[in-house]
């Protein structure tokens, strides 16, 4: 499942809260080298235009947080009681790990 599809699993009323949490997660991360430049630019453009809480904005934040802080991103969705999203992130982590091997 790609990231825009993943966003559809999140109730729209939680997009604002989740956007803020993911930005925090990304900015606090020490794994900066894992951020692809193009994704960084997409994220910044959404922030500039006030679209971080939109579907595409949230998709970019989700992708960045899974790349930089996969475990923390997954735990955040568990805490937010969104197990379906957490499961999807878990699957993405498994794919990323397999690709790395």
């Amino acid at each position: 499942m790609d990231y825009p599809e993943l966003v559809k699993l999140i109730p729209a009323e939680k997009w604002g809260l989740i956007s803020d949490q993911l930005i925090n997660l990304i900015l606090a991360s020490k794994n900066e080298e894992k951020m692809p430049r193009q994704l960084a630019d997409t994220m910044l453009l959404h922030m500039k235009n006030g679209n971080s809480e939109s579907k595409s904005g949230l998709a970019a934040l989700l992708e960045a947080s899974v790349l930089l802080e996969p475990e923390k991103a997954m735990n955040a969705f568990c805490e937010l009681q969104l197990p379906t999203v957490a499961e999807q992130i878990k699957a993405k982590i498994a794919t990323m790990t397999a690709e790395a091997i």
């Binding site: 930005i23 606090a28 951020m35 960084a40 910044l44």
Partner: protein
């Protein structure tokens, strides 16, 4: 109305710093200052990225120096930034950090003359003049840009010592006072005001900024913890006269300095006392910070710069400043 500025150190990748800059812009900050040290990422490249992703915040070097980059190239960089963000760019310049400059083999001398001449060259180039300049420190045989610069670019002078403060008041469009304690800021404002008077300007002609080391958190303990490393380095770099002025035990400061030299950060940071935190930072809960900023404002500052470390978590600290601190100073 008191303006708020924010300082970032480009030790983080550009995208993090730009994200904070966007947040700061949305949170009511008017000025963005990026530090210029060769050990970190380049200030102009960082400012260019910030220019592209922001819409209204004014930004500049916080601060560059006349030594490491020739003033002609500094003017070129600032003028180019002004094309990216017309009317939103300022030059911040000061004498530079001697230790850092010596590390790259740059010989410094006559800091007042160097800063003054660099500003002179900068302004002439920005005005589109062909600059044949015969200064004591800088000489140009005929420098001119092949492109036009739109509008005026203000110059802010970073200052701490009495003569540089006077020069800043006299020559600058703004003064960046490198201090956090009211007694230091009071002294600095007086010296800068002397320069303003000498130039027959009025106080409102010059933006006087307290460029502070700042740390805010809902919990005092966390604010102090974040401020401690920054304050440790300030204490280590301060002469005995400055430490004594703030009632700081010189033996304690020596102990701290020795620990830093040995890279024993645990010992160094544990040597930081509450007196040191109070002298060299604006630190505490939002209410405590508001009280200190109000005190500084009464002394005559027109801009308050939230400098490093800002808080234990920069994003949360910016949110806290935006929701609790800035509204207290909106008229």
């Amino acid at each position: 109305m008191l303006k708020f500025g924010i300082e970032f150190v480009p030790k983080d990748p550009y995208w993090k710093l730009v994200a904070y800059a966007i947040q700061a812009e949305n949170c009511g900050f008017s000025y963005l200052w990026i530090t210029d040290h060769f050990v970190n990422r380049n200030v102009y490249v960082t400012l260019a990225a910030a220019a592209i992703y922001t819409n209204k915040i004014t930004f500049g070097t916080g601060v560059t120096n006349p030594w490491l980059v020739n003033p002609v190239i500094t003017a070129q960089a600032i003028a180019t930034l002004n094309e990216l963000a017309p009317g939103r760019v300022v030059l911040g310049i000061g004498a530079g950090d001697k230790t850092t400059l010596e590390a790259v083999g740059v010989k410094t001398g006559k800091p007042l003359t160097a800063v003054n001449e660099a500003i002179d060259i900068f302004r002439k180039l920005i005005n589109g003049e062909n600059v044949a300049y015969q200064g004591e420190v800088f000489k140009t045989a005929g420098a001119k840009f092949n492109f036009k610069i739109q509008g005026k670019i203000p110059v802010y002078i970073g200052a701490q010592g009495p003569k540089m403060l006077e020069l800043a008041g006299k020559t600058g469009d703004g003064v960046l006072i490198n201090a956090s304690h009211p007694s230091d800021v009071e002294y600095a404002v007086k010296r800068a005001s002397k320069g303003i008077q000498q130039a027959n300007k009025t106080p409102s002609d010059v933006d006087i900024a307290a460029y502070t080391s700042f740390s805010v958190n809902k919990e005092l303990k966390k604010a102090v913890k974040a401020a401690t490393p920054v304050v440790a380095f300030i204490v280590a770099g301060s002469p005995p006269s400055v430490l004594e002025k703030h009632g700081i035990d010189l033996a304690k400061a020596d102990e701290l300095r020795a620990a830093l030299k040995k890279n024993d950060f645990g010992k160094a940071f544990s040597s930081v006392t509450p007196e040191m935190i109070n002298a060299f930072s604006v630190c505490g809960t939002p209410d405590m910070c508001i009280e200190r900023i109000a005190e500084l404002r009464k002394l005559g500052i027109s801009q308050f710069v939230v400098g490093s470390p800002i808080g234990a978590n920069v994003k949360k600290a910016i949110d806290l400043i935006s929701s609790k601190v800035i509204p207290q100073f909106v008229e």
